[in-house]
Symmetry: C2
Subunit: 122 residues, 2 copies
Amino acid sequence: MRIGELADRAGVSVRALRYYEEQGLLYAQRSGSGQRHYSEPAVDRVQLIQNLYAAGLTSKTIADLLPCVDAGVSTPESRAILVAERDRIEAQIAGLTHARDRLDALITLTSSPRAGCAYEPS
Amino acid sequence: MRIGELADRAGVSVRALRYYEEQGLLYAQRSGSGQRHYSEPAVDRVQLIQNLYAAGLTSKTIADLLPCVDAGVSTPESRAILVAERDRIEAQIAGLTHARDRLDALITLTSSPRAGCAYEPS
DNA sequence: CTAGAACCTGACGTTGACGTCAGAGGCAAG
DNA sequence: CTTGCCTCTGACGTCAACGTCAGGTTCTAG
């Protein structure tokens, strides 16, 4: 498939796909005229990349890790990165959970006037 | 306390504190010579701000919400923002959890050579 | 065959939360 | 008094992941 279709199917922009290639995260066959052509698994790969981006990994970190994904093996260095990122994500989840709880408390606090002193005329 | 001490105690940079003030998130008394002076609760407030930043809220959103925190009440608009941000955070937590699971799987997969086919010569 | 959509390669623009530097003034200690 | 650290304002720098535009080529539907 060509780049536009991949973009649609993976839910990202065409520009993003070219950027991923630029960063060494995604490869494409080139037709004679220079157009990129992708195979089916590219859809999953792009979604994986997006997922890792969303988790806060940088292009460089992803570029370091993807070869291990492809090969199914990891070096001591890549394992260290993996574990470090996993821990970072866990910490981020904890922080977000805390923030969510604060927002929840804020919602409860501010939307029920004088909560606990309820005496609302029916 | 002065800005340096607040920065230390809240774990942020002096620049960040001035930026928060610029964005209307933090106020300070000014001495005759123009130096900022903060009271104790400022430490908590800075940590709240940091927490909200870490959760992905923008300066503007925080600026919209802090008055509600201060007043303990919310308008329909602020409630909408609160709920929207809460939902966004929940979605982000779900995404991060997914990413963490993928990394965990990757760690397991790549660090135990031929898992399930174990036959290692002792 | 032709119009229009899709694609190409540069290359500059954007955004948010600060970092950093310059130049000047303020404050406690010896 | 001066040394040295802290603070001030103002303004430009940074970084990542793209957005967007220009100018040109290629593919495809009718």
